[in-house]
């Protein structure tokens, strides 16, 4: 109802305002047709009704099935139908909403009468550099000089046409604060404000702009926005929302903006850095762009479905980021409003079909992780690698001493192996239910249930022909070899999750006569788990960490119990044996695989302790019988065993461990790796289960200018990047400069920065937008150049405060007769409080940070459950853009200030004003701690006067002096606070101990607490969180 009323008004006005200017299709007609007709009479063939197409002049005016007779509105079926009162005839049909308004009908009628001229949609037309309007030397009615820049010329021309006078320049303080937030996201240094305010010249302004553009914080500020576009986040996004490491990509973006990397190169590196010849590490890091999509680790996910989801996500995002269009809408059908077909969508998707990825990221284990070492890490890694090489060489070197030792070792090994007799078990039992089996090499392997504790009973016969296991005097030596096995945790030899085991006792009897152990030794023992513990009943037992995955040996020497032994009767004939192995540590520390052997020589050594089975047999071969490889294996075993090389071996182990630890500490990213492209088909109605669609190869959207190319070669992501940044592409430069404009003015020249297509609002200043786009391309895609141009304009420097008359004429500032004002971005709200209070940690780049967060906020996360540990130390005070971005539970203080979860591309954040924001500023410990820190700094000012201190704080926080009406308010707050804290001293400590920064001894005072209240008030001001 109201709408009709409002829309009727231009009609009443028509004779004056509209009739005197010709209808312009893109500005006046396309929005109506697009909004009300194209859904059924537009580019989407699938949903086209009555074969009528209104987005194309030829079809619309065709004698055969058209609805428009150019020049003759009264003969045009279109007009007849939109005016019809017959509910069966009227267009749009009733179920598609209300009829067109009189104003709209009138407009269409006049357009047809004027010849029904169409224009190609503005954003798809070729980019040409428009003439800069010539303006007189003085701006009428202002006394200001004429425009100094092209930007001002375009803006002022339109203002002059409308008879509107631009607003004067903002005051120096406001301007400097605005500029600092716009270009670095941080408040200016109060000193800079003073310097500039003292001598505010054109030159000083230009210098300040340069200063900010050169600041490393510039890259951070630009990254803040770019990361929204590409949906950068530190977690997967679906279901369990597990973490993933991609922070090097953020570092790349910051660096790229700081180095002013040309935008075309920036584009290429992100889309196809991995495909560049001799790609550098950072070019490959840039290609992480392709893997920033949400991904799932949910059990029951069908990989094919999710690969289709990820693929569509990339088209949607890349379309939104570079083309500024909603090509993603063509996933299920041709685009309803823009000429993208469903085939275009899948052609586009095919560019990304070569990305190596998983449909389901099981247990959050990612593939293709690229380590990105810091320069120091690279240096250390190189040094370690060199040291390792040198030590390896030393390990392999031959000396006469080693040669001699090897001969001796081999000899011993041969004789040692002859001294041992393997025990062949005929039965093995587990006391608590493990499954024990005997392998071909006589070893016993445990499997099945792994009880908390267990006892194994091994029985067998000594074979005839074996040497007697017993010496004349009843001496017996038992060897227990622990062997690794792939079936065991960490390859064993134990069954505990870390590969360990603890052996507490070994009970052996021969022919039912018991053996009493006298000594024990082992090839290796864990600290506090000595081999003797097996025979003396010590509760710690014997264990082998850290030698998981490697063989170890335990050798026990004993005698048959005296009462059974009959001394002097000659050798005893043992025929059967029984051995119990007791393992009572708990949590499954049981033996996994072991082998038993006996000897009757007490001196039998452990020389073969680390010698693999096959080497035992190899050493029995004579020199001539061995081939090179066998010789090598023996050599290897010798070097691993000989005490002569113990020092070198230890050194090797130490270096390897260091290298491993260093490698594990290197941050990784999910760079792109190309593989054989997956087959991409058109999915009818987006249905991933439907394989009936045609196979698509990479191709550019059909209606946009094509690149010259060799048609026989499959196009790659590199070709895509080059096409995007070619001079012929009409969308990319327009999209980007429109967004730069938004960052500096609060909204784009074309308002919908995410949709330059026909459903988006056309630009208010199309020539200016095109001029900026051409300037961008001609400057070599120079981002800093464009920002410099914009912020140097008078248009940018205007005050954001406008007279009532201007506000009523142009409430949304479409004409830029003033600057806009807006609440700071979420990250900047945080950064500002940290910066003015002196807490901000200014490290550029690095892994994500975890600021304080209310306990339990992550309690909805699962698989696995997680608890949040906030950072301690300086990283607690990093800028908001480094905050760990948990997609499904974004940090609540950022979320409250409209930071997006980055599940999808966000080209423009909403800006709300909510009670939750007030709660954050009032009660989030970050802001309370910042207030305390600001108050502490104020206490350091050498004065006792309240006003002088207040003056200092206001300068620091808001770059201005307190107004006369503000002083008593602050003073009252302070005095009441002082009263309270003097009366309740226990509250002082409570308030001042909030946060991680320690309070210096003796600093706690009622005054500091009261000043903290004042600082809290300042940080809560609307002015503190607003860019004017």
């Amino acid at each position: 109802m109201i709408r009709k009323l409002v829309l009727a008004c231009p009609l009443l006005l028509g004779s004056q305002a509209l009739a005197d200017q010709p209808i312009e299709f893109n500005r006046d007609v396309r929005p109506i047709l697009s909004n009300r007709c194209f859904a059924c009479h537009g580019p989407d063939e699938g949903s086209r009704a009555a074969g009528l197409r209104l987005d194309d002049r030829q079809a619309a005016t065709s004698l055969d099935g058209g609805a428009i007779v150019a020049g003759r509105s009264e003969k045009s079926e279109l007009i007849r139908r939109i005016e019809s009162h017959d509910e069966l005839e009227v267009m749009p049909p009733q179920e598609h909403g209300e009829p067109l308004s009189q104003a709209e009908i009138e407009l269409l009628r006049r357009w047809i009468d004027q010849g029904a001229e169409y224009q190609r949609h503005w954003a798809f037309t070729k980019l040409l550099r428009p003439q800069v309007p010539r303006m007189g030397a003085r701006v009428p009615g202002t006394g200001m000089s004429g425009p100094r820049s092209a930007i001002d010329a375009f803006i002022r021309k339109k203002l002059a046409d409308e008879g509107i006078v631009p607003t004067e320049a903002a005051d120096v303080r406001t301007l400097v604060r605005r500029l600092a937030f716009d270009l670095t996201g941080l408040p200016p240094d109060p000193k800079q404000v003073e310097d500039y305010a003292a001598r505010p010249s054109q030159r000083a302004y230009a210098d300040f702009v340069e200063h900010l553009l050169k600041s490393p914080h510039f890259g951070e500020r630009m990254a803040m926005y770019w990361l929204d576009l590409v949906r950068y986040a530190d977690s997967l996004g679906y279901h369990g929302d597990q973490p993933r490491s991609v922070s090097p990509y953020r570092d790349y973006v910051i660096k790229a903006f700081n180095e002013n990397k040309p935008f075309d190169q920036f584009t290429t590196e992100q889309l196809a850095g991995d495909l560049l010849p001799d790609a550098t590490l950072w070019q490959r890091v840039a290609s992480t762009y392709n893997r920033l999509n949400r991904a799932s680790g949910e059990g029951g996910v069908q990989p094919k479905e999710y690969l289709a989801k990820y693929s569509a996500d990339r088209v949607r995002t890349t379309g939104a980021v570079w083309l500024g269009t909603t090509i993603g809408c063509a996933e299920c059908h041709d685009h309803k409003f823009d000429p993208f077909t469903a085939e275009d969508f899948y052609h586009f998707a095919a560019f990304f079909a070569d990305i190596k990825e998983q449909g389901i990221v099981k247990s959050a284990v990612h593939i293709e992780k690229l380590p990105v070492p810091t320069p120091e890490q690279t240096q250390r890694l190189d040094a370690l690698t060199r040291a390792l090489e040198a030590t390896e060489k030393e390990f392999q070197a031959d000396t006469p001493e080693l040669v001699a030792a090897r001969v001796e070792w081999e000899r011993e090994l041969r004789s040692d192996s002859e001294r041992w007799t393997w025990l062949q078990p005929t039965s093995v039992e587990s006391q608590n239910g493990a499954t024990l089996g005997v392998l071909d090499d006589h070893s016993v392997l445990a499997s099945g249930p792994n009880p908390e504790t267990d006892g194994y009973l091994v029985r067998g016969q000594f074979l005839e022909g074996d040497a007697s296991p017993l010496s004349v005097d009843g001496l017996i030596v038992l060897r227990i070899e622990l062997l690794p096995d792939k079936s065991l945790p960490r390859s064993g030899p134990g069954r505990a999750s870390n590969g360990n085991l603890v052996l507490h006792a070994v009970e052996m009897s021969i022919d039912e006569r018991r053996v009493t152990w006298q000594s024990a030794r082992a090839s290796h023992s864990q600290v506090h788990h000595a081999p003797e513990y097996v025979i003396n009943g010590h509760k710690h037992g014997w264990a082998i960490l850290p030698r998981a995955g490697q063989p170890s040996q335990l050798v026990l020497v004993g005698r048959l119990s005296p009462r059974d032994a009959a001394p002097g009767e000659g050798p005893l004939d043992g025929t059967s044996f029984e051995i119990r192995l007791r393992q009572s540590h708990g949590s499954g520390h049981n033996l996994g695989r072991f082998r038993l052997a006996v000897s009757n020589e007490a001196e039998t050594g452990l020389v073969s302790g680390n010698v693999p089975d096959h080497v035992w047999s190899l050493v029995k071969l004579s020199e001539e019988e061995r081939d090179g490889s066998q010789n090598q294996q023996i050599n290897e075993a010798f070097r691993n065993a000989t005490p002569l090389l113990q020092g070198v071996r230890d050194e090797l182990a130490r270096l390897r461990k260091q290298k491993k630890e260093l490698q594990a500490s290197i941050v990784t990213t999910l760079a792109t790796t190309a593989t054989d492209p997956r087959t991409i088909r058109v999915l009818p109605r987006g249905d991933w289960m439907d394989d009936s669609g045609d196979v698509m190869v990479p191709a550019f959207p059909g209606f946009l200018p094509q690149a010259n190319r060799d048609s026989s070669q499959r196009l790659t992501r590199l070709d895509l990047a080059h096409w995007l940044t070619s001079r012929d592409n009409p969308l990319v430069a327009r999209t980007f400069v429109n967004r730069l404009w938004m960052l500096m003015f609060g909204s784009g020249l074309a308002r919908n920065v995410d949709d330059l297509g026909s459903q988006g609002e056309p630009p208010t200043h199309p020539e200016l937008l095109d001029w900026l786009a051409m300037e961008f391309i001609d400057s070599g895609w120079d981002v800093k150049h464009m920002l410099r141009l914009i912020v140097s304009s008078e248009t940018y420097r205007q005050s954001s405060r406008a007279p009532e008359t201007l506000v009523s004429v142009d409430p949304y500032n479409r004409l830029y007769a003033r600057q806009s004002r807006w609440r700071l971005e979420a990250e900047m709200v945080r950064d500002n409080a940290l910066a003015v209070s002196g807490l901000l940690h200014r490290q550029i780049g690095g892994v994500s940070a975890k600021p304080y967060q209310p306990a339990g906020y992550w309690s909805q996360l699962n698989f696995p459950r997680r608890s949040y540990e906030h950072d301690r130390g300086p990283s607690q005070f990093r800028r908001g853009l480094y905050t760990h971005w948990q997609r499904t539970f974004l940090h609540p203080s950022l979320l409250a200030f409209d930071a997006p979860p980055r599940e999808e591309c966000t080209a423009q954040r909403s800006r709300s004003n909510t009670p939750l924001q007030s709660l954050v500023l009032l009660n989030d410990p970050t802001f309370v701690e910042a207030a305390r820190s600001l108050a502490s700094a104020a206490m350091g000012v050498q004065t006792s006067a309240f006003r002088e201190r207040l003056h200092w704080v206001m300068q620091r926080a808001l770059m201005r002096e307190p107004r006369a009406d503000e002083i008593p308010l602050f003073e009252a707050l302070y005095n009441k606070g002082l009263e309270h804290y003097r009366a309740s001293p226990e509250d002082i400590e409570k308030l001042l101990s909030i946060g991680a920064t320690p309070l210096p001894d003796g600093a706690a005072s009622a005054e500091l607490a009261a000043w903290t209240s004042v600082a809290r008030a300042i940080l809560n001001l609307h002015e503190s969180i607003t860019r004017y």
Binding site: R823, A855, D987
Partner: protein, 475 residues
């Protein structure tokens, strides 16, 4: 279309400025879009659908969200045939080419319902015997047995149920509701989410996306009450700051802001002042509300809770208090319905946690009269397979049940049905978007005329496909 936002705009908007605007060479349709983008600055308590499209039957909504996907076969959909077929393969004609989740590549065999059903109430509704309390209010329930959805994994299925799309970034139904109708209370958020875990299954992760306002301004987002620490994030004033001091601080900030407004003339400041007032009120109202102080022992017993302990039962009690105080949309999650294995035991545990409190809450609403214009929704994001997954059931999207209650729907009735094996909705199938259309209809909103322009499209809760209002179930 932007039309609705326009309606809200014009109230505060100078008509003359519009005329000037259109005179500036911006096409009228473009001007409309522009207005829609500015909707964020309209007043907090006003909805954009004013007047409503038709007279509403419902003023508030209570969504008892059974996250994880309750089995319809052990709750509201009795299938004796499935019992007979236990252990036999499902007919391939049914399952061929259909999606399965964890049963990919596994044999698909029938799995008998694990519990008996019984007749309840005068209506004789058939409900699983695990739910005697819910059974006792059977005459107040409208059971939809023919729901179906598109998404077979939890995260996207939930997102679809809450926002009408499996793609992230869309507003949840609660946000749409606040956007359309505005907020009733001025000391509590208009849309509150309560969650609880259970003991009968793994806890479903629930993304904040489920109550996000998506592309709508974030003041329409749901506020999740925490079960640990302050119920609303950052609600508690800092240690060492008394209530009186906090009050003084807020007063001072507001006064300073007013003074600054005089200097810079910024309408956002007036809103900021309102929000500080609201924040301050919440610091009092929320703790009073969540402490459950003054709730009688008898009431506690009726719900099956012993106090504010974060269980589903105590959350139901809390939900009643929220609804009483004018909160428009309350969502109470129970997160333990994903019963892939040992469904028998899991159902017993979970039913115990949910049955009594659900019934107590509905009875309570009846007693207080809120029942008449409250829509109560009980159900999950999908159902579970008639096929066995070991001793449990897998995710299932072709047919499941959803229960509605409240004065606006016909109690003691059921709607639609699945086939004999409980596999697919066959009679009067109801897609999730049909439920959304019905929900909006009951609130006085025509879903086709309720849109927000985003990325060039008129985005609706019900999406682009036809959605049907279930007139037949209305009282």
């Amino acid at each position: 279309m932007g039309k609705l936002s326009l309606a809200s705009q014009t109230a505060t908007w100078n008509r003359r400025s519009f005329l000037r605007q259109t005179g500036l060479g911006i096409g009228p349709a473009a001007a409309l879009t522009m207005l829609s983008a500015e909707a964020s600055s309209s007043k907090l308590n006003e909805g954009v659908v004013s007047p409503l499209h038709h007279s509403p039957r419902v003023k508030r909504v209570l969504h008892l969200c059974m996250a994880g996907g309750p089995s319809h076969l052990e709750t509201f959909d009795e299938k004796p045939t499935l019992r007979d077929q236990h252990g036999k393969p499902m007919p391939e004609s049914m399952t061929k080419g259909q999606q399965v989740a964890q049963l990919q590549g596994k044999p698909l065999n029938c799995f008998a319902p694990q519990f008996d059903f019984a007749s309840f109430g005068e209506s004789g509704q058939r409900i699983c015997s695990l739910f005697p309390q819910i059974g006792s209010i059977a005459d107040d329930l409208c059971i939809i047995r023919s729901m179906h959805t598109d998404q077979i994994n939890h995260d996207p299925a939930h997102t679809l149920f809450n926002t009408g799309s499996s793609q992230a970034g869309r507003p949840s139904m609660g946000s749409w509701m606040l956007y359309g109708l505005g907020q009733e209370c001025d000391d509590l958020p208009g849309y509150v989410v309560l969650t609880s875990v259970g003991k009968g299954g793994q806890a479903q992760p629930i993304a904040a996306r489920q109550w996000s306002s998506g592309f709508l301004p974030s003041r329409f987002q749901g506020v999740q009450f925490q079960s640990q620490g302050a119920p609303v994030l950052y609600l508690n004033r800092p240690a060492g700051v008394s209530a009186e001091q906090q009050r003084r601080l807020v007063d001072t900030v507001n006064q300073l802001n007013r003074g600054f407004d005089d200097a810079v003339d910024d309408p956002e400041i007036a809103t900021r002042i309102q929000q500080y007032e609201m924040a301050f009120r919440m610091q009092t109202s929320v703790p009073e509300l969540t402490s459950l102080e003054g709730v009688s022992k008898q009431t506690m017993e009726a719900y099956g809770t012993e106090g504010a302990d974060g269980t589903f039962a105590s959350n139901c009690l809390l939900a009643r208090r929220l609804l009483e105080r004018g909160v428009r949309f309350v969502q109470v999650y129970h997160r333990a319905w994903d019963h892939h294995g040992n469904i028998k035991k899991s159902m017993e545990v979970t039913a115990r946690e949910v049955d009594r409190a659900t019934a107590a809450l509905i009875r309570d609403l009846k007693q207080s009269g809120l029942y008449e214009d409250t829509l109560i929704v009980w159900g999950g994001e999908f159902g579970r397979t008639p096929m066995a997954q070991g001793t449990g059931r897998d995710h299932h999207i072709k047919g499941f049940s959803l229960v509605l209650s409240g004065g606006a729907v016909q109690g003691g009735t059921s709607y639609g049905s699945t086939d004999d094996l409980g596999y697919a909705a066959v009679e009067q199938p109801v897609h999730v978007r049909d439920f959304h259309a019905t929900l909006l209809h009951l609130l006085g909103i025509d879903h086709r005329r309720f849109a927000y322009r985003f990325q060039g499209l008129d985005q609706r809760l019900t999406g682009v496909e036809e959605a049907r209002v279930l007139q037949e179930i209305m009282a």
